[in-house]
Amino acid sequence: MGFSWSEIERSFWGRAIIWLAFAAGLGIAPLLFRSGIAMTILSQAGYVIIICLSYNILFGQGGMLSFGHAVYTGFGALIAMHAMRMAGDSGGWSVPLPLIPLVGGLAGGFMAVLFGYVTTKKSGITFAMITLGLGELVAAMSLMFPGFFGGEAGVKADRVYGEPLFGFDFGPQIQVYYLIAIYCVVCTALMYAFTCTPLGRLLNATRDNPERVEFIGYSTQRVRYLAFIVSGFFAGIGGGLAAINFEIINAGDSLSIAQSGSFLLFTFLGGASFFVGPIIGGIMLVLASVLLSDLTSAWLLYIGLFFVLMVMYVPGGVASLIATNVAVVHSGKASRLIVPYIGLIVASVAALCGLSLLIEMTYHTQFETAKGPVMRFLGATIDTHQSAIWIAAVLYTALVGAFLRFACLRFMSGWEKIQEEMDAAQAIEVRP
């Protein structure tokens, strides 16, 4: 086959090139996208990537479905914010700003030491429920102690304090971006390195076959606990960077279960079984919350719909979608899928148009009555008071839905046939 991704990934130089490209991409990005909104997206993506990767240490690599990851990012952000405030108040100890994320990391790690002891006693479904309970506990507590958690107004701090470091005072957003980017590359590399350590390997083994891990003499509980602490530390770093980026933190929001849920959602959407999956997921999270939320107010509904469809049809996430398609292209069988693919894409776009028209019309009549009955949808002007439009929209969606189902079945049969053929070919290759 000559050239394949897996070979590039395995060779030393191949790896070095991928990492350099990642770092260079983060370095060049602000030069390519100069608008203010691009800066916002890039800065947020930098630390959300760290957070999603740290979540995946639990979810993808350890098989631990946590519903309380926001506790560790949130505490990281809070403690980082208090550290920044203390430093700004002058006198006493003052941590230089580039080290503030580490303060957040230590805070997140400390909380993981504390809570991980209880949560990692169990695995599987019980683990998920305990993390949910602890997440709720902390979220409820944040309202009980307004002094520390900031209450409704949140905790504020100024990131510009002390002497400028090498001429950087971190006032301009671009300097903050580069600080985030450096942390992003270093943390990503460290978390990748973690997957190669004996502990990282044991964690995978604990996910796949806990009895055997116990049998060869390791405590699965201890492995989970240690991994939990590592994850909490990196989550805290991500939270600390968020604190620097926003200069305000609202504990009610950043410790909430909804926040934890969004980390889970997007890590899954990116692809939990691949190391790059959470990076894709993190970028999707930021793009969705900045761009999609600007486009439509019903964005959470679309995200939920997309999530349910992905769990049902692509449980490996976007990363596995890319990987399997690359494999199909390499097998030289992709040409057979071109027609089904075109059918699938045309049908999906048509169905999405119909569905989103219905959703947007409902949304308009429910929440935007003050703007009058007329709304704009994809450049067209629509009068939501005309019942003909509603009937047409419902009929069109039903029709296109049936077409989508047909296109889906056709694509699936072609796809599964190719997968079978590829499996058979692989079996022949393996045989000596």
Partner: protein, 317 residues
Amino acid sequence: MNTAFIVISLMNGISYGLLLFMLSAGLTLIFSMMGVLNFAHASFYMLGAYFAYSLMGVIGFWPALIIAPLAVGLIGALFERYSLRRVHRFGHVAELLITFGLSYLVLEVVQLLWGRAAVPYALPPALQGTLFTLYDIQFPKSRSFIMLVAVLMLVAVWLLLTRTRIGLIIQAALKNPEMVEALGHNVPRVFMFVFGGGAALAALAGAIAGNTYVTEPSMAAAVGSIIFVVVVVGGMGSLSGAFVASLLIGIVQTFAVALDISVATVLQPLGISVSPQIFGYALLSLTISQMAPILPYLFLVLILIFRPNGLLGTERG
């Protein structure tokens, strides 16, 4: 604190606890049969309240009380048939994730159809007013109605599970699904029935709680985490454990909300005055009523440390 307060709080606590049990019973049954932690269980509860509210305007409260749970049960059964069964082969995590996704969707759809504010789901005339008055404290009819429905439901479910043929098949499918399948029963259909039944029970709870409390989009999240606590504290998969834990948490929370006692007020008569200058004042002056929201979760943590399998749970794999 007097006798009247204790009696009324106890009654309120029991009615809230029984409501929690109506929810956690379905959740526990689904969990012990299918190994699926249904994250969307509280969403079915919310749907029940909204369906009953909408149907009440058309067909009246009492028919709505029956139709709404049936409709939600149908939705639950369809969801099991076309969604959950599909992801079953991807493992328990995928199953949990799809119910998590469903809870997300239900919340958004409810907000889309009924709006973000609470809807005016009123009590029917027969349930308005007070049932009895004890030392000037009134006990409303609607709460006693919740207790009545919950007890009837408890008896009905118990009879169904132990005294009918289908109940025996459900129990057998719980212990040994392969053998039941080998005997010619359609186990996937039994699962669909149980899932739909659990959803209908949750919806019934929603239909009677929606007008006693408030029908709003956040009502699912408000009980969602609590019923998970109930299921873990009672012991995963133990129906009787869920019953004990529901009552316990219902009563503890109801009492806690009414108690304005903090460490500081307890120390006051002993001659120790706690002033804001003392370290940890925020913690010492915290009243029990302020702590009420976190009590179930504290309870959960304590149970997990001292009795990891729950109150009445047995060792599971």
